[in-house]
Amino acid sequence: MQLDLLIEQFKKKDEKAFEALYNMYAKNIHGVIFNIVRDHDIAEEIMQDVFIKAWHKADTYTAAKGRFFTWILNIARNAAIDKTRSKSFKNKKQNLDAQFFVDILEHGDNLNDKTDAIGVGKFVSKLAKKCIEVIELLYFKGYTQKEASESLDMPIGTIKTRNRNCINELRAIVLN
């Protein structure tokens, strides 16, 4: 597979491969960071930090640790959450805890023309609040199962099955 090859080259510090991977995932990572910090300039700044960090840590990635996207997603979420905890950020921003990714989707301006905006919008209008919560915590905020279970006050087993059902709904809408 081409992706595996790119990752292999990236681990050997091949800049061309890195650029290809960047182009593949930049929007996704930017979306996740923006959802956490809700500030265009700060999000772009973190974007650079994240990919530079990924470059320096390139040799630590192995497929056995998880998907490459998940690996870089993890670096991004950590960097963005660290930023929100910094003093300068706290002074500037209101509390963002109550915001969900759906706010961005519902807010038409931010919808990307090239994405299936209609499909994703349809998804949001159909999604139950419980799905939005669980997807927000697990994918956008990087909670572990245990943290999500504590935050939503439900058993871990329920989180797992609920998330599976919610992702199935998402797949039915965005992948068809």
Binding site: G66, T115, Y139
Partner: protein, 271 residues
């Protein structure tokens, strides 16, 4: 390993989310190598998450690789220079040799401590998984118990009429039982003795008055297949003299199809 169960457990969704421990990630990876359908499932999940996360990116953002390319190139240069300078100084200083030795010993100690720590971490993970499993079991048992208690209180209530409905020509083995509380107009139907309805068909419950024979629909048992205990709460404010259950096309019928009458029982015979 049952691969379908494994896929349905939801572990792959957590794998893509990055919500699993290192050991669990390794396990999923191994299963994926052996079973292409698991890999395929992971790719599908990832594709859906990619669509969703992409849609949350601000549309006017400039995602230019050049600033990153510049930074990583310049940093690589400075890295090499620093290393060279250190190397030269080292040779000249005995003191720094001892310093390095101490650092190596410290490093080894640190490595040992980290090893110990990760061993403990993995033990904690195992205990946590066990706990999760038990939590789930307790939750299931708790819900079952509540349901059972509720049913007992209904059965024991002295004001409730119990009306057995016997099987009819179309399916003589069928049976059902109605528990009717006239005071509150509420009724429970125990339909465990009915066979599974065929595709596209649904059971419909009727309240009947006998002279003349007038059926009134009490609704259809739409969730018959998914209901575990097959006990249905039904509102009944009619002066029913008998109850019947017929098999009707999905959505129910205006009047009962008597050829498809499964069970029937009269109120008079018991009260």
């Amino acid at each position: 390993m049952d691969i379908n169960n494994y896929i349905n457990s939801g572990i792959l969704e957590l794998y893509v989310a990055g919500a699993l421990s290192d050991e669990e990630n390794k396990e999923v990876y191994d299963v994926m190598l052996k079973h292409p359908e698991v890999l395929n499932e992971v790719l599908q999940i990832e594709a859906a998450i990619l669509k969703l996360t992409e849609a949350t990116a601000p549309k006017d953002a400039i995602l230019d690789f050049n600033p990153i390319a510049n930074k990583i190139s310049s940093q690589t240069d400075t890295d090499t220079k620093v290393v060279n300078m250190k190397a030269e100084k080292l040779r000249s200083s005995w003191l720094s040799v001892t310093g390095w030795a101490a650092a190596v010993i410290l490093g080894a100690g640190l490595f040992w401590a980290i090893q110990q720590n990760s061993e403990l971490q993995s033990k904690i993970k195992v205990a946590e998984t066990d706990k999760e499993f038990l939590e789930q079991q307790i939750e299931i048992a708790d819900t079952d118990l509540k349901e059972a208690k509720h049913l007992i209180t209904i059965l024991r209530d002295k004001d409730i009429l119990a009306i057995p409905l016997g099987g009819q020509a179309v399916y003589p083995e069928a049976y059902a039982k109605v528990y009717w509380d006239k005071a509150t107009n509420s009724m429970y139907l125990d339909a465990q003795g009915l066979p599974e309805p065929p595709e596209g068909k649904v059971y419909q419950v009727w309240s009947l008055t006998l002279n003349p024979l007038t059926p009134t629909s009490l609704g259809t048992l739409d969730d018959f297949m998914t209901d575990d205990n097959k006990i249905f709460a039904i509102e009944n404010s009619n002066a029913s003299e008998a109850f019947g259950i017929t098999l009707e096309p999905a959505g129910g019928s205006e009047s009962p199809t008597l050829e498809q009458l499964y069970t029937l029982g009269t109120v008079a015979s018991v009260s």
